[in-house]
Amino acid sequence: MGSIFNTQQIINGLQLGSIYALIALGYTMVYGIVRLINFAHGDFFMVGAYASYGAFYIFNSFLGKGTPLAIVVLVFAMVAGGAIATLANQFAYKPLRYKPKLSSLVTALGVSMFLEYFFSAFPLIGASPLGFPEIIHRASFKIGPAMIDNYVIIDIVVAAILMIGLTLLVQRSAIGRAMRAVSQDKDASKLMGINVENIITWTFLIGGAFAGAAGLLSGMTYPRIDPYMGILPGLKAFIAAVLGGIGNIPGAMLGAYIMGIAETFANAWNSLLGAGIAFIILIIVLLVRPTGILGEKTADKI
């Protein structure tokens, strides 16, 4: 039977986790700042994938396959993801910001449904899966007992670069400081002169851009895209964010990699377990430590 816990599976898990991480970050950032579970976030991921598809066909004739094309497509994907997130925020979430939170949640569901059905309604884009083109030539090689291809490295490295970039932004820059302030105390931040709505917009933008990047990576790695591709990864990334501590950026990254590896191992053992592991993790987390691994215990304000 062979041991499940081997190097190959760990690498598989890290690859999967990288994609989850990029999605989870958007969830956690938005939650941290406006306490909204943006159910449409998985669909920003999907939009990123389709945007990459489109970008490939637009720029392929100029650039030809390879790294330059990949970078252009990545930028395109991130812009698309960020744009759609900003639009959703501007038109659907902002008007309801100070209304009961539950209406924002329902609206988020509406945005999610809208995106999915809109993409599947278009005859050309369509409700049938599309084959994602090969942007960078694939090469496999053996490292020890495991087979790696360059896509594994690309996924992990690109995710890492973006995450490091985000951490630097949040820790070192003025915007980052403002974001941290708003997520801690919106009202106080306003009093300190921070333009809260601006910061919220930036948060959605960055979160969406990351989801878009994840969409590209996913399209490259699992070269089949369809309008509903964001549902399951979105849900799992969200659970990963909860696992790490929702609202906590390092927590989201940690949770995502744990989720990726756990899912890979579970799948290797038993597909039934693999299908359910995400939700089992969710229930365990919520029962044992709802604030997540790195989350802080917040006292109930009375």
């Binding site: 999967l16 899966p129 996913s218 089949r224 591709m229 290797a268």
Partner: protein, 377 residues
């Protein structure tokens, strides 16, 4: 509240009047179902084309029973629940005399009880899982069934490809893939081969690496993957990424141009069992291909051919029965001996036709005919 209630009732009545203008008896109405959208969309489009070609040809010759044929096509989206709704709608609202469809066994299984209870004959075009016709005596199919298909696959793998160790991976969420894998495994072990890995995967996922890693570690000669083409393409690719160099093999769910479009070089040198091959030299096949190409600008796949045969079979039965009533059509169907493009369609006691299968290889990105395998007498 009161004006609301009044308004509600009024609109009910109005809408009811709107809805109830059903079909006149000017036409013979036949229902057709296929997965035009969803995970097997190319199947649905081909099915619709095949159905349409058959109906158009009949109508050009005067229709059936002196009337023109009206085909109502419905998209089941590859989902059983949607299928149930769609079959019900065809029977209740469109008042069809018979239903030709559908492709995916899962969905046919959902629609069959509805047809059986309503006594509307159903001819599944490409559902190969044996359970479909077991639902009742109003349920027929135009294709072979999986016990045969799985056996053919196993025989080919063992005898022609000389495989002695096989691994299976299939969709747990689907009776067709599960069933076909079971039949393959049974025959393969009977021949003396060994199943070294048996992995299922969840429906709708895109990452199969966990299961494939286990498979690759078991060092099989061949991987049997009876999924639909969308999943096969990804599985093949990921198997190659993990270092597997041998052939993959599968069933009629592979038959789509998207297999190569998405799978690329990963599916090169792989084989699958199917209902028909475009390289078949028989005149009836080549003639059909010409007519299909003239109308739809592409070479037909097995789904189109099966739909064509199924629709022709059904219309023939209506003609023979001389009536559009369910029981009469059913009896005519049961006694049919029809020569279709895919071969002779004559039903056994379970309303399954005895037909041959072909083996197709993917060579240079094209489907290439390898051999025909007839059922054991």
């Amino acid at each position: 509240m009161k004006p609301f209630a009044l308004f509600a009732v009024l609109s009910l009545v109005l809408a009811g009047a709107f809805f109830s203008c059903g079909g006149g008896s000017k036409y013979v109405t036949v229902g057709a179902v296929g997965p035009v959208t969803g995970p097997a969309a190319t199947f649905g489009i081909s099915t619709k084309n095949g159905d349409t070609l058959a109906v158009d040809e009949w109508n050009a010759k005067g229709g059936v029973l002196g009337k023109q044929i009206k085909m109502v096509f419905a998209d089941d989206k590859g989902d059983p629940a949607e299928g149930a709704t769609v079959y019900t709608k065809l029977i209740q609202q469109n008042k069809v005399s018979a239903i030709v469809g559908t492709v995916m066994s899962n969905v046919s299984l959902a629609g069959a009880p509805i047809c059986q209870a309503a006594k509307i004959p159903m001819v599944a075009t490409a559902s190969t899982n044996p359970k479909v016709t077991e639902v009742g005596d109003y349920i027929f199919r135009a294709c072979f069934i999986d016990p045969f298909q799985g056996t053919v696959g196993a025989d080919f793998a063992y005898n022609n490809l000389k495989a002695r160790k096989a691994a299976c991976i299939y969709d747990l969420g689907n009776d067709y893939t599960k069933g076909l894998a079971e039949f393959f495994k049974a025959e393969f072990t009977k021949l003396g081969g060994k199943i070294v890995a048996d992995e299922g995967h969840d429906h709708g996922v895109t990452d199969f690496k966990a299961q494939l890693t286990r498979i690759v570690q078991a060092k099989p000669d061949i991987i049997y993957n009876p999924d639909y083409y969308n999943d096969v393409a990804l599985i093949a690719k990921q198997a190659r990424e993990l270092g597997f160099k041998g052939p993959l093999m599968g069933g009629d769910g592979w038959d789509s141009p998207d297999l190569v479009k998405i799978g690329g070089s990963a599916v090169e040198g792989c084989y699958f069992t199917n209902h028909y091959s475009k390289d078949d030299t028989r005149p009836v096949v080549q003639d059909f291909i010409k007519r299909y190409q003239a109308k739809f600008n592409e070479v037909p796949d097995a789904l189109a051919v099966l739909a064509y045969d199924a629709m022709n079979l059904t219309l023939n039965a209506i003609k023979t029965a001389g009536s559009t009533k369910g029981p009469a059509i059913r009896d005519a169907l049961a006694a049919s001996d029809y020569n279709g493009v895919t071969g002779e369609i004559k039903f056994d006691a379970n309303r399954n036709p005895i037909k041959s299968a072909v083996i197709i290889e993917i060579k240079n990105g094209q489907q290439q005919f390898v051999t025909t395998i007839a059922p054991a007498p």
